[in-house]
């Protein structure tokens, strides 16, 4: 501890940096090999690429139909987030402000269902949603994310709204503002910190989710990034040049998101995990 930078701190710093480099080794192998031609990957796996060439990326980009799968992932993540924030903040607000038994029962139901692992419901889910015509459609998937994400999202909003004094809203109601108006104009702007947390947690989950979209989206045109990577990897097993470039293409958007939102992500995770 202590605030001075001593010789001991220096040694710890060196050790920590070495550990950090060990953590980065997989990324080194991924990046450097994704830039090599196939023969060089096999002969010189650990070396840096001898020439810089992006042919693997160009090939993977086209064969994976990257632009399409990227926009699918983006569309699904963005729309699901909007839908989740919109409906769950409203629901949580009403559940907090209505001091009735029914509110507690509904809230407990949402929270209790967070325990259910996805694998426990995936089999009947396909049947139920299939009979409602929700399979193979982006909208169906969005509704499923609303259903699965509602527990966690309502839970986080609920905890936050409890801390907001009701007086503000009462003044607005006396001024003739409707309940919806009160919520969207007065309460919702106050929820911004928790909305950021909710959006980050849900975005990482939905963007990286593989199992649910793999069950719902059969049409290759609708594939998201994890789905496309999975099929691409299956199709080009041992064709490491293409596979690694495809992996890099899939990881880059996440890294950009991370470096843009780093501060919020760290805050969101520490506040979201302590439930």
């Amino acid at each position: 501890m202590g605030n001075r930078y001593t010789g001991r701190t220096f040694i710890i710093e060196i050790m920590a940096i070495v550990l950090g480099l060990v953590f980065l080794v997989p990324f080194y192998y991924l990046v450097s090999n994704s830039l090599k031609p196939f023969a060089e990957i096999l002969s010189n796996t650990s070396a840096l690429p001898s020439v810089l060439q992006f042919q693997n990326y160009i090939n993977a980009y086209h064969q994976m139909n990257f632009l399409k799968v990227f926009s699918n992932s983006l569309l699904i993540t963005v729309v699901s987030n909007i839908v989740l924030v919109f409906f769950c903040s409203m629901a949580a607000y009403m559940l907090v402000r209505t001091k009735k038994k029914i509110s507690n029962i509904i809230f407990m139901m949402f929270v209790a269902a967070m325990v259910i692992p996805f694998q426990s419901i995936m089999i009947p889910l396909v049947k139920v949603t299939g009979s409602l015509g929700m399979l193979n459609s982006v909208w169906g998937l969005v509704i499923m994310y609303l259903g699965f994400g509602s527990g966690m999202t309502i839970f986080l909003y609920h905890g936050f709204i409890k801390g907001i004094p009701v007086e503000l809203e009462e003044a607005a109601i006396i001024d003739g503002c409707s309940r919806l108006g009160v919520f969207w104009r007065i309460v919702f702007p106050l929820l911004k910190p928790i909305t950021v947390t909710v959006v980050i947690l849900n975005s990482l989950w939905i963007w990286n989710d593989f199992l649910l979209p793999s069950l719902v989206l059969q049409d290759p045109e609708l594939r998201t990034i994890p789905l496309a990577t999975f099929f691409f990897f299956g199709q080009y097993t041992k064709q490491w040049d293409l596979a690694l470039a495809a992996l890099m293409l899939s990881i880059i958007p996440l890294l950009i998101f991370f470096f843009a939102m780093q501060k919020h992500i760290v805050k969101g995770i520490t506040s979201g995990s302590i439930k």
Partner: protein, 322 residues
């Protein structure tokens, strides 16, 4: 005097009547208000509740029913078979028992290693290091990427990267056929999940460590406590609540592991690393035995629910104590 009191009487009477009228209209307003607030309640809560019911509740309860049937998903007939599925799982289904055992073993190893590594990382990044912010980013980065992609990345590392490191350094550990052997494939999954999870756990421990009051540590130093004593008797008790959070978080991650399992080993070699979640998936969507898959899923749910309930009661108890 007399006339005055009469006047009063009249006044009281009309007042009473007014009051009655007012109460009547109040009652009307109240019931109207009730109806309106019920409508508002439905407007605000309804959409989320409806989606939740269709997506989570109905599949969950029908799933419990299917666990007692021979549904195969192909033909329409669904017959009630009672406890037959469960009998089969516990007596004949060697793969399920093996999956259950390997999942338990994996969970035990992964929670210990992830927490130890995560805690060490958090001790490092809360020191006065010049590079601590960068290190925090580096340690956390693997967590950002989904298990499926990480599994594929590591597949390359284990197959090509390790072989190459082995060639250069001559360390025999790297020359093993990591994913081709049941034992090392198991440790492969452990390595990837520790690498992925430690950064997340680090963040939680870091937040807890930063809440340890510096005065306490200074006071202990003045009293002559050494570094280990400070860690053991001040830091560790102060971060105990975070330990509970992290332990149960890692239990639930590990027990439900699916993505890394699928992309790294796909249960191989010879299904030796097929964990529970993947076993359920294969039973249902590859073998098309939905009823049997649901029976497994129900057992899976009961175990996860039990872990969570123990966690919640334990955390609540701790909160009361402190």
């Amino acid at each position: 005097m007399n006339s005055h009191s009469k006047l009063q009487d009249i006044e009281v009477g009309s007042l009473g009547k007014q009051k009655m009228l007012k109460e009547k209209s109040l009652f009307n307003i109240k019931s109207q208000k009730n109806l309106k607030s019920l409508g508002l309640f439905a407007l605000f809560v309804g959409p989320a509740l409806l989606a939740f019911t269709i997506i989570v509740l109905i599949p969950f309860f029908t799933g419990v029913y299917y666990a007692f049937t021979d549904w195969n998903g192909v033909n329409g007939t669904i017959n009630w078979v009672g406890l037959d599925n469960f009998k089969y799982l516990f007596t004949d289904d060697k793969q399920f028992q093996q999956s259950f055992w390997i999942t338990t073993k994996y969970t035990a190893v992964a929670i210990i290693l992830t927490n130890i590594v995560g805690f060490i990382l958090s001790l490092l990044v809360t020191k006065m290091l010049k590079t601590r912010n960068m290190l925090r980013t580096v340690f956390f980065m693997p967590n950002l990427i989904g298990g499926l992609l990480l599994g594929f990345v590591w597949q390359f590392i284990f197959v090509k990267g390790f072989a190459s490191i082995g060639q250069i350094t001559g360390i025999s550990l790297f020359e093993l056929p990591w994913l081709g052997d049941a034992k090392t494939a198991f440790w492969g999954i452990v390595i990837v999940s520790v690498w992925q999870g430690a950064g997340y756990i680090m963040l939680i421990y870091t937040a807890a460590l930063q809440n340890v009051p510096q005065e306490l540590i200074e006071a202990a130093k003045i009293d002559g406590a050494n570094r280990w004593q400070i860690l053991r008797h001040i830091t560790m008790p102060m971060v105990a609540p975070a330990v509970t959070v992290c332990l149960f978080l890692t239990i639930s991650w590990s027990f439900k592991v699916f993505d890394v399992n699928l992309s790294l080993t796909n249960g191989g070699p010879f299904k030796s690393t097929e964990m529970l979640a993947l076993n359920i998936y294969t039973e249902a969507f590859v073998n098309n035995r939905y009823g049997l898959g649901e029976a497994k899923a129900l057992i899976f749910f009961l175990v996860v629910a039990a872990i969570t309930i123990i966690q919640v009661t334990y955390t609540k108890k701790k909160e009361v104590e402190s």
